[in-house]
């Protein structure tokens, strides 16, 4: 598709001509016919797909775009046969056609990933329209896998230490009988404690010899005290045991459940230590806190935990609801107060006093302890109750569903905003990668042209489209007197331009490094530098043991290399996949020993010690290091 626009792009380049200082480079003429009209037949498990050859070659990094597809070529029928799922291949072909990969919603994500990796396509190129869906499904899938794994692990991996066992017993009641016992015992005591708190206040028979009924708590004070003590002792022991068994004590102490535990047992201890008169006022408050023991049940009940979590997550919406209600209350209370002011005996002595009336009226409770007496007041009161009905009763279901919808929407928006930077980075990365690939191919072609291969061989390796595209870029370089620079990727994926000047002084140890090459580097020459300037093979001046980091050109040199690798005579392009092992370093680092250094493990190695001594694998960035 873009190939058809290439002539246009080249024609538009005429605009650069007037500003160029030097004549534009000539385009190598091709002898053979262009292959713009040739089609390719792909047979996927019996279903035939046909497409233009050039549209496949647009992505030389993938299986179909590179020479790797030759492995699947069937000569008799002149087609490429793959034994894969034809349904999926439709989407793969769409990618070649349009440049966007769409994720089919009806398909399974892991099958999709498998297909993508078979055909050598990165998932990052999934189009924006489908990317969110893909990511969500992928996350669900990985969550599912992780859950499965973790539950497996839980069952199989038994904690070895006693401490681990105790922790596990506390967390998971089903894990052992001991855990179950703890679970039920604590539950029982929580219930007992709560019931005791409640019945303490019920009125019992009066003391013998007295007439008035007293709360049972005072009647049987000793009994209740013993009960309370027992419960608190159990709770304390449980808390201390949990604290000891926890892996991360600080984190445990900050968790909600432990706070509840502490709050539940603290009143008792405070009551023990603080005695006397000051106790009575505080005592009441402390007693109240004992009711929080009921929250300890949330360890026993999942539903309670979920409720708490829901409330927490809806906190902002609930807060807003409360705020708007408060506004309405204040408004009505104010109006009521001023309406009733004319009556001297009025109940509405102040605006805060009117709050109570407003709340009772708006929620349609209507206790009747406060009623307006003036006519204006009654009108306002009527309006208030009508508004109350509307404000509270009607919108509540609407608000509830709205909250749910808005909440999810804002979550999605926030997620998208948070991912926006990631998305932009992703786009940038993809663009950079493709840009790098282009420039790399271009440099490759230049090297090939200069290495003196025959025209035919060059034409076989590089398509007509690519030649003309490279020519276009070369003309741009000419017009601006600049040159494209190959970029590298460091380990964190950030590209940077190679510096042409070596970072250490070209050491004396590079004994026969031709000095003219280095001076050329410093002059910042153009083409020559690309060939020899990229020598980073420097060693420290020590015994050559420590060398610098490895820079391996990251766009994995698999498929695109297959296109250029051609172990035929002198036309071996300087491409290797190097896994560099450091042989025992010997002293003078002349170029030969440098070659022996990277005892490259590669299928097509171009140990070009055949040709000039210094024409090396300079497409691999070489900083050899001790692996």
């Amino acid at each position: 598709m873009a190939a058809a626009w290439l002539p246009f792009a080249r024609a538009a380049a005429i605009g650069w001509v007037p500003i160029a200082n030097t004549p534009m480079p000539d385009i190598p003429r091709r002898t053979s016919e262009g292959n713009m009209n040739s089609r390719v037949i792909i047979n996927i498990s019996g279903r035939m797909f046909e497409t233009w050859r050039y549209s496949l070659e647009k992505y030389p990094d993938t299986l179909l775009g590179s020479n790797e597809k030759e492995f699947f070529y069937d000569e008799e029928k002149d087609e490429y046969f793959f034994d894969r799922d034809p349904e999926f291949f439709r989407h793969i072909l769409t990618f070649y056609r349009t440049g966007h990969m769409h994720f089919p919603r009806s398909e399974c994500i892991s099958a999709f990933d498998e297909e993508l990796s078979f055909f050598g396509i990165l998932p990052e190129i999934i189009g924006d329209c489908c990317y969110e869906d893909y990511r969500d499904r992928k996350r669900d899938n990985s969550d599912r896998v992780a859950d499965e794994k973790s539950s497996e692990v839980e069952d199989t991996v038994l904690p070895s230490t006693f401490r681990g066992k105790v922790f596990r017993a506390f967390e998971n009641p089903q894990s052992s009988t001991m855990a179950l016992v703890i679970y039920y015992v604590t539950g029982f005591f929580i219930a007992v404690s709560v019931i005791a708190n409640v019945t303490e206040t019920v009125h019992c028979d009066p003391f013998p010899g007295k007439t008035s009924a007293v709360p049972c708590g005072e009647r049987y004070e000793k009994g209740f005290f013993i009960l309370d003590t027992a419960c608190v002792m159990i709770f304390t022991m449980e808390y201390l045991a949990r604290l000891w068994a926890a892996d991360d004590r600080c984190k445990f102490m900050r968790s909600v459940m432990s706070v509840i535990d502490v709050v539940a047992i603290l009143p008792y201890y405070v009551g023990l230590f603080v005695t006397g008169d000051e106790l009575t006022g505080m005592f009441v408050t402390l007693r109240v806190f004992r009711v929080f023991r009921i929250f300890k049940f949330s360890r026993h009940s999942q539903g309670l935990r979920i409720l708490g979590y829901t409330l927490k997550s809806c906190a902002s919406e609930l807060g807003f609801l409360l705020f708007s209600l408060t506004m309405a209350i204040i408004i009505f209370a104010t109006i009521m107060y001023y309406a009733e002011k004319s009556d001297t005996n009025t109940v509405f002595i102040s605006i805060p006093a009117a709050f109570w009336y407003t709340i009772v009226t708006m929620t349609t409770l209507g206790y009747g302890d406060m009623v307006p007496t003036t006519i204006l007041g009654k009108i306002v009161g009527g309006m208030c109750s009508l508004c109350g009905v509307l404000v509270i009763a009607l919108p509540v279901p609407v608000i509830v569903s709205n909250f749910s919808r808005i909440y999810h929407q804002s979550q999605r928006t926030d997620k998208r905003k948070a991912q926006r930077t990631a998305r932009l980075a992703r786009i940038k990365l993809a663009k950079n990668a493709s840009g790098t690939a282009f420039v790399a191919r271009k440099k490759e072609a230049e090297r090939l042209a200069q290495s003196g291969c025959s025209q035919e061989e060059i034409q076989n390796k590089i398509s007509s489209y690519e030649t003309q595209h490279h020519h276009l870029l070369a003309c741009l370089e000419n017009a601006t007197n600049r040159e494209f620079v190959e970029t590298e990727y460091t380990y964190n994926g950030i590209p940077f331009a190679r510096t042409l000047t070596p970072q250490h002084d070209t050491p004396h140890s590079l004994s026969n490094s031709p000095t003219d090459n280095t001076t050329q580097e410093f002059q910042g020459n153009t083409i020559c530098c690309n060939r020899s300037g990229k020598r980073y093979m420097q060693a420290n001046t020590e015994d050559g043991t420590e060398l610098n980091e490895i820079h391996i050109r990251q766009p994995n040199r698999t498929r695109a290399d297959l296109n250029t690798n051609n172990p035929r005579g002198n036309c071996t392009p300087m491409v290797t996949t190097t896994i560099v092992t450091l042989s025992t370093p010997t002293s003078p680092l002349d170029s030969d020993s440098i070659h022996s250094r990277h005892s490259a493990y590669s299928t097509h190695s171009a140990h070009s010690s055949n040709s000039e001594g210094d024409a090396y694998d300079n497409s691999c960035i070489m900083r050899v290091s001790a692996l």
Binding site: W5, A11, I14, A20, C387, G435, V439, T480, R482, E486
Partner: protein, 228 residues
């Protein structure tokens, strides 16, 4: 009171929906719907002339026209290219830099009737001139490209814009790297060469004359033909 507030809110929301439909206010969406409808109706009716006639009017042969139309239609199914699509296509060829500004200028030069879209005929006729035309025709086109406001003369600012956009296409990773002053210097040099009577603007005659004298330019013009 609050109920009244709630009621007015609901009413406002309803009104908003209506407005959206009419495409007056809020609606970028509303406006887009209308525009899209219009555009789709008119664009769907676009068809180019027949293959034979195009062969006659341009310097391309049948096969080349076929290939080019297929690519054209694949990229723009409606049959016309608008500027956004044009920029995105153009940027595919210059992966490192930012080619949108240069693409904008080129688009304007191809869009002869200035209606914001290029039809296949405009495309192919422009292309025919550029790749297969004479040197003078090509120079004429280059002049039109440089003359952004179309007043018949190129000022230094116009040239600076063009040159900056060309430098933008190189992108960050170039050696030596592009900085603020490089376009300016370049423009000074070129302008000195082109502006024969030193009046600060370059007219079409000056342009043609100085380019004709310059050998490199005449040679370079031949290089841009494409074989498909």
């Amino acid at each position: 009171m609050a109920a009244a507030a709630a009621a007015t809110q609901v009413g406002a929301a309803l009104k908003k929906n209506k407005k959206k439909k009419k495409g007056a206010e809020e609606g970028e969406q509303g406006v887009d719907d209308n525009e899209l409808e219009d555009m789709d109706l008119s664009a769907a009716r676009y068809k180019p002339e027949g293959l034979d006639e195009l062969c006659k009017t341009t310097k391309f042969n049948k096969q080349e026209l076929q290939v080019m139309y297929r690519g054209f239609k694949a990229e723009c199914p409606t049959g016309v290219v608008n500027e956004e699509t044009f920029k995105s296509i153009y940027s595919q060829f210059f992966p490192h830099g930012d080619s949108s500004q240069y693409a904008h200028y080129v688009f304007n030069s191809f869009d002869t009737d200035h209606n914001g879209s290029i039809t296949f005929e405009e495309f192919i006729s422009g292309l025919s001139i550029l790749s297969r035309g004479t040197v003078v025709e090509k120079l004429n086109w280059a002049f039109m490209l440089y003359d952004i406001n179309g007043d018949g003369s190129i000022t230094k600012e116009e040239m600076l814009d063009i040159v900056t956009s060309i430098y933008d296409m190189m992108g960050k990773y170039s050696q030596p790297s592009v900085d603020e002053l490089s376009p300016k210097d370049h423009v000074d040099k070129v302008f000195r060469k082109l502006d024969l009577n030193r009046d600060g603007v370059v007219t079409i005659d000056e342009f043609l004359e100085s380019c004709r004298q310059d050998e490199t330019i005449s040679l370079s013009m031949q290089v841009f033909d494409t074989i498909l």
